[in-house]
Subunit: 257 residues, 4 copies
């Protein structure tokens, strides 16, 4: 493995497939959303991506084994709609500039081979979130952009950078004549953020007229609130402790004087 | 895209073309100057440069789309003079040593193909600026160097490094038997500096007998003065605040004692 | 040498060889264990691995010469058992992500050529050690994993990363249809740790029914205890000194006040 | 220039040539020594080495031109002795691990082509210097090592690393069946150190029975002593100033109290 490779596991006929990408990134928004879709749609494993630009470690699995970091392509045969969906998620993004471009290009090679005409990349952008997280849409195709806005996405300020695979796929898809849309949900970004992932899926559903049960995601949101609550408690106690120690110190200084 | 590529958009006959390069760098001097020339001369887009050594993000555009970082070659058909001008600017420089060499070599491949005999690279060097910014000239061709000095450029101390594309093009052009001159305007460098960009263009005009209306640049200079003024106000208030807090602290210590 | 190379010194027939890898890492556990096996089993030098991804220096040797950093393959002809052992250790691991993958793949090329069916990688993981250091086992083969647990290894939590050559060999071996097991001994990791190396060898012995005299390792453990003791003495004296200086300082402040 | 290249300027017959390498490094010992030999022996320029692994800038020259960083091979036709000398020095070492290996291998390609049988690399190692700087010798050839010791070099402790081109040439020369010796002079290393360079040349003279007038180097040594003296004066005044400010501060605190 001198270069990024994609190993196909099954060879199935695909119906106008759409590729949805969600690699780990800010608030894990893209990967939470994509992994939820994989689970909820009972998508079938299609192919695995390995890269010498991923971090050089393996991960222990539940059975005492271990595996390289990887990307995974899943297939959702969409029986009722017009498009099958290929769902791509993974453990990590490439760790170097050149690796980022190589991985994005290998993904596009695979997309071309599978006759993908539309790519959707999912991710997060840092913002203070009030109530329901907003979702920004960016697209290389004006019609697709309009559909995203109708599905309640908002537009982004010109000049905003979109970093990593979610951005590069958009930029590089043009050279393959593949349309692409990027959906970025706002997130504080310092914890995995299923709430923003839900907002992103809702826009995705609106654009492509897909119907996915999001109850499971609500449970994740509840769990993440609890974690956040506990972390905030710890932080409050830490601040109190520091303040108390400071008063003790001041009294000591006063005493010495 | 495993390597830096240049995609040509039009194929036009060029008259003894001169290549002017101004990528982002210190004070954005080179890119401000080149972009101004492109706008003022209504230059026509000629080719686009993409590189896997540019930062791995895309930029959102005004229409909700996005694009890779890139270099852009523009053509100014110089109806009255002897030379057409190819103007090259871009979003970024390559991010690795090897990438810097690769991008500079691809630019020179393109220059050779277009039968460019002279290259001018524009940029800034850090200095305290009094009144009108000085412009340093460095050239691989003594006659060109003399013309730069006559156009009021000054010479640079031996041993001075010229970093990045502006420097490498100079160093690598020799192997292609292309003459090159580098014009560097002095700049404090911590803000985009249209004033220094103007000085650089004035030397360029003097060398090549080109006449460009610089009024538009004067407006940019006024705007940048305002920005600088506001930033200095903020800084002054910050300093005052810090000084006040220090006095309060000193009084507190005195009291404790 | 543009790429990692393995130079073979002798060409001998091997009996169902097993490859044991122990490169330098946390607490030097893997390299101490493997080097002890080489010495104790009087293993014969088989091949040398050189890589342009190792640090760019040479090491002075005892005779006034110098040599590149390298990996070394040794052969233990196991007269009584079923498997010969190839022991691989070295001076350093590759210094870049891509180098790590390249070195691991060259090692596997060599293993395939030598018809290795099983690879054991040795290393350490950071933990507070109480009494006898525990050894974690991870394996791509469930039967091998069971044998490791019977030999008193314990299992590791899912999601734990195994970094470097010890991990990558495990992850990449699958593509060559080679079984692999990784044995990681717990170590504080801030000093070479022969005690943990001993624990790791004991598990290795249990799995493969090999019998190696570990007395020599006990001597190394004694020496390392002495070094640790001396370092702790130095640390205690340092802390005392700092405390004393602080008291002096406090008295000075009190006086001034 | 995708890779390191050596451009030959003249093609002359060489008599059993010896290659002396002195790139910039600790205390600039290697480059000062080699450059002095070039000047003193009036050596003729033989070839130039360029590399995309050198820093990506050019250097302004005395005539207003500029050039890439480079290595330079010079030839000293040794009329009276058995060996011609190729002297190699340069502006910089390669900036990446892989670049270091590539540059060293290109130098060895050139050495092989020129039928070089012996390479001498020069450099410095960090040490407190008393009186005359000592010179350490390391060699891949025992006879050469003995000759170095007779020429008053000393041996180095086993395990000492020799970093960079001076070390890699030694390590890689073995694969080309070229003998190599490395001479490292002790130096404090924080300033260019012509005194240590002189010690290194003296050992070199002793080994190869060459006679070079070192008076010019004595002048450089005098100049560097003056610079050092001035720097020490500045340091002393700085320390005095800091001490005075501290007393003022203490008095202020006392007063406040």
């Amino acid at each position: 493995m001198k270069t990024t490779v994609i190993k196909e596991l099954v060879n199935v006929e695909l119906k106008n497939p759409i590729l949805v990408e969600g690699f780990p990134g800010l608030g894990m928004v893209g990967s939470i959303a994509t992994q939820y879709l994989v689970k909820q749609l009972k998508a079938q494993k299609l192919a695995t991506l390995y890269s010498p630009h991923f971090p050089y470690h393996v991960l222990v699995d539940k059975k005492g084994g271990a595996r390289l970091l990887r990307g995974e392509f899943y297939l959702w045969k969409n029986e009722t709609g017009e498009n099958d969906f290929i769902l791509l998620t993974g453990d990590s993004q490439a760790q170097t500039i050149e690796g980022q471009f190589e991985v994005a290009n290998r993904i596009l090679d695979f997309a071309e081979k599978k006759k993908v005409k539309t790519i959707i990349t999912l991710g997060g952008y840092r913002n203070e979130v009030e109530d329901t997280p907003k979702v920004v849409a960016v697209s290389t195709n004006p019609a697709l952009f309009e559909r995203a806005l109708k599905a309640r996405a908002i537009s982004s300020e010109a000049g905003t950078p979109i970093v990593g695979t979610a951005g590069l796929l958009l930029g590089l898809a043009k050279f393959r004549k593949i349309d692409a849309v990027c959906l970025l949900g706002e997130t504080r970004g310092y914890l995995p953020d299923p709430k923003t992932a839900k907002s992103v899926i809702e826009v995705l559903q609106g654009i492509f007229n897909v119907n996915v049960d999001l109850k499971g995601l609500d449970e994740e949101i509840e769990r993440s609130k609890e974690i956040l609550g506990r972390m905030q408690d710890i932080e409050k106690r830490r601040v109190k402790y520091v303040q108390k120690m400071r008063r003790v110190e001041e009294e000591r200084i006063t005493y010495i004087s």
